[in-house]
Amino acid sequence: MAKVTIDGREIELPDGVRINAIEVAKRMGVEIPHYCYHPGLPIVGSCRMCLVEAGNRDAKTGEIRMQPKLVPGCTIPATDGLVLVTTGEKVQQARAMVEEGLLVRHPIDCPICDKAGECSLQDYHFKYGQSARRTDVMPFTSRKRDLGDVTLFIDRCVMCSRCVRFCSEVSGTAELMVANRAAHEEIDVVPGFPLHNELSGNVVDLCPVGALSDKDFSYQQRVWFMRQHTGVCTGCAQGCSIHIEENQDRVYRLKPRENQFVNKWWICNEGRYGYHHIHDAKRLAAPQYRNGGKTTDLDWTGLPEKLTKKLSDAGRLGALFSPFLSVEEAYLLAKLIKGIDPQAILAMGPVPTVGEDKKFPGGFVIAAEKAPNRRGVEEILGYFMHKLLTFDDFLNQMQRTELQGVWVSGGYKGPWIDAATARKFDAIPLLIVQDLFPSPLSEIATYTLPGASFAERDASYMNRYDRLQTSRLAVRPPWGVRAEAGLLWQMSGRKGLYSYRAVLDDLCREVLYFAPAAGPLPDVGLDMKINKLAKSGALAAKMA
């Protein structure tokens, strides 16, 4: 156990914790400002913003010996007896000096900078800098360079080299480099080899100032207008933790949320920019009823009850569960359909897969399976059906058993069914399709219901490593759209507004697999594999 003293307060670190002074201070709520340090990148100790006074307490005599010079906090390992002073005059002067230095050549174009409001240079200047510029006002320059996936504002850069280290260590592509020397240093790429990789968006998050600008986000929104919501990326089966940032029901960007169990600090570009379908004009916008060749737009009033009744009257039922459904929705839907027709056939919808898993040198993985909740839906279907049916099984059974009513849940971000497959559903008298976008299937459905995107509902997803995470509602669905969850809630005859927690509680009580989720879900999610372990443990105990 290591005992560390920071500004007179003591903290005890458990054995085996290997962190540096900045991280220890963070655990105590003490901020040590820094630019170049990032927990996910190699330490270079070059920005010198984290300079602190460091010393050691003698274990026997208790005498404290301080080092004569300032030490960068990022390079100090938290060992037993470490003593830090982060508020002394020397430290304050050093911080003010670094801040002043960084601002000597900075254009200070905050009013037109996207980073303003979440910029370390700004924040630290107000906290630790000097109020007045003392000398040598540099001419205003705001040179810009296209680096490929991102834009570089050369003069805003503070040369922390985080982006360079990210490209060499995490994405392993090493496109970025530091060109020139001293005050002429610039981040650059080799001509003809632009910054272009699947993780390039992360360099914008890493940039502590406004030097690297996201082409997707630039000049779209001031950051102080946006609200941040806890989310889960639905781009692939990894289920990266994200923040969804929106203003007035419009999502402006997705950012990675630190989760050591899943995505560390990063997300891929596919996930980061995979929100544009939310605001796509082609989305289904109103429920429709189709009779023969005639299509009527419907109102939601009374529709859920009507749909329940139609399903009850239909006879033999079947349902396709999309891997984009949350566990709550899958549970509500399965419960609903099975409640009406205990013989109903429930099956997994198509699971989109593209290529192979891609692993990066930094450990980040992009999964080939492009759906967030195959595992969650599988477990629920397994509980209700005892045998997991795939999409092909469902098509076969559909023709054999002459289903009278079929509920198809979609939610796919792109085309997922071709016309030939859709034609197999022609004979179904009652076909209800809830989806984001029109598809060959929605064209022939009796009822077409517009569904909600991932940002428009409270939903829990289980990634392919059985980690259950909840994504919270960030924006309201467009007018005319009702989220699957709310609709199914109402169709199940429940009262009041949809509450994911209530559904999850029911699910935990009913389906043993989800029992661990009965308590509050942490932000980083819950590993459900613990169940399997318990099961095998019980089995082992029985056998012994």
Partner: protein
């Protein structure tokens, strides 16, 4: 160039007048590779190390760190490889001694490298030479080829069972490559951004293996220590102060490169501890044109300035510290006569460091650039008295000594500024008042003369 002064017979420079002094034949005729033969026949690596330790040799690169102590930091019984890097990136302004050695007596250096590599149990040595020395590079390469052919390098040197490969690596002209970890990074093919220490190179250096980085002149000294014995080496220079157990003294011969306003600029050999005045008057023939020296840089630009009154300071490892200089440095003096403007000096100095800062640490990158902007403005007649305060503040806050940078380059940038302002403040103030009679007292921020990208305001 070298001649006996102060009753001292040169050792390191003994060969350099001879015709074809850079060839193996001439070097061997003068007793070359005698030390190597002796070491390979009679001495174990630890004996070599012990002899160097007994001699009290301190590194000639600038910091004066005891060489044997540095070698002894290498991990014991390391499975290897251990690397020896020889720093021939002689880029400190005013420093001209390694070049003479490399061009005129390369075999002496090669022999020293073999002995040092033997003492450190290295099997590979790298000779990092700066790009601006093409002739040195040619001569060193020729010497290495000759040494390979004669069996001094390569497998099983002189039948001793010890093998060593020596490679030349040419730098690309950056000052910071003379910093030992910057040099290692450069050798690894990376940008020469000095590393955070610890871990020190002796523990984790080149290719993450234990590494020793030594100066060219240190290598040459090792030859003579092995050849003539530790006692001979200890008989030259300034012995340690017996009152101070931590003082290791300044022993042995030293090359002094003297340039600037002197009658006979050049590279001279003398014992450590001669005074700056002796060096100028007796080695370099006095200040030119019968003038008086105004300021002297004792050991490369980074060490700062000595004023005329301080010229009796002994040039040993401790002497220049006493008059506020950074240290002995490379013991290469730059002499400025009484007509020389200190504003020009400071401008040149600031410009050099603003150009050569590696740009890694904020205080150095921005401090050196800011000081250059200030000096540009002062030189252009737009200086203010308060600028001197700012310069002094920059000088006091950047560097490894206050702890604000990774390497010592910033200290090198700070010392000329600090010493110049402390010792020649009156002249700087006069210049500012004379050239900017209306604005010298302004205290609010003023426009810089030029921007980063060279565009005028």
């Amino acid at each position: 160039m070298s001649f006996p002064v102060l009753n001292y017979e040169p050792v390191l420079l003994a060969n350099i007048h001879k015709e074809n002094s850079h060839t193996l034949a001439v070097y061997e005729a003068a007793g070359g590779y005698r030390a190597l033969r002796k070491a390979m026949k009679e001495m174990k690596p630890d004996d070599v190390l012990a002899t160097v330790r007994a001699a009290g040799l301190r590194g000639r690169g600038g910091a004066g760190f005891p060489t044997a102590l540095k070698w002894s930091f290498l991990p014991k019984d390391h499975p290897g490889p251990i690397y020896l890097c020889v720093n021939a990136d002689e880029s400190e302004p005013g420093t001209i001694v390694n070049r003479v050695q490399m061009e005129e007596d390369p075999h002496q250096i090669v022999e020293g490298i073999i002995l040092s590599a033997y003492a450190t149990k290295s099997t590979t040595a790298y000779f990092y030479i700066r790009y601006e020395y093409p002739l040195s590079c040619q001569r060193m390469q020729a010497a290495i080829d000759e040494a390979y052919a004669a069996g001094f390098l390569g497998k099983n040197i002189l039948g001793s069972g010890y093998s060593l490969d020596l490679f030349i690596h040419r730098g690309a002209g950056a000052y910071v490559c003379g910093e030992e970890t910057g040099l290692i990074e450069s050798l690894e093919g990376k940008r020469a951004w000095p590393r955070i220490k610890p871990p020190f190179p002796a523990v984790e250096g080149l290719f993450r293996k234990p590494t020793v980085v030594n100066n060219v002149e240190t290598m040459a000294c090792v030859v003579h220590i092995i050849d003539r014995g530790a006692e001979w080496f200890r008989s030259i220079g300034v012995p340690p102060n017996p009152q101070d157990p931590r003082d290791v003294g300044s022993l042995g011969p030293k090359l002094f490169g003297i340039s600037g306003h002197v009658n006979k600029p050049g590279c001279y050999e003398a014992p450590l501890g001669i005074t700056a005045r002796q060096a100028i008057d007796e080695l370099a023939g006095g200040v030119w044109k019968g003038r008086k020296a105004k300021a002297v840089i004792p050991g490369g630009l980074s060490t700062g300035l000595m004023s005329y009154d301080e010229l009796d300071t002994p040039l040993d490892f401790a002497g220049p510290l006493k008059v506020g200089c950074l240290g002995l440095g490379t013991a290469c003096l730059i002499v400025m006569d009484e007509t020389y403007s200190m504003v020009d000096f400071l401008y040149n100095s600031c410009r050099f460091y603003a150009h050569e800062s590696c740009g890694q640490c904020t205080p150095c990158r921005e401090g050196t650039h800011w000081s250059m902007m200030i000096m540009e403005r002062i030189k252009a007649g737009k200086g203010r008295l308060i600028d001197l305060e700012y310069l002094a503040e920059i000088g006091n806050t950047i560097g490894i000594i206050p702890g604000t940078t990774i390497c010592g380059l910033a200290d090198g940038a700070a010392w000329p500024i600090k010493t110049c302002i402390r010792k020649f403040r009156g002249e700087l103030e006069d210049y500012i008042k004379r050239t900017n009679p209306t604005g010298y007292a302004v205290e609010v921020a003023v426009p810089a003369l030029t921007g980063t990208n060279g565009k005028p305001h």
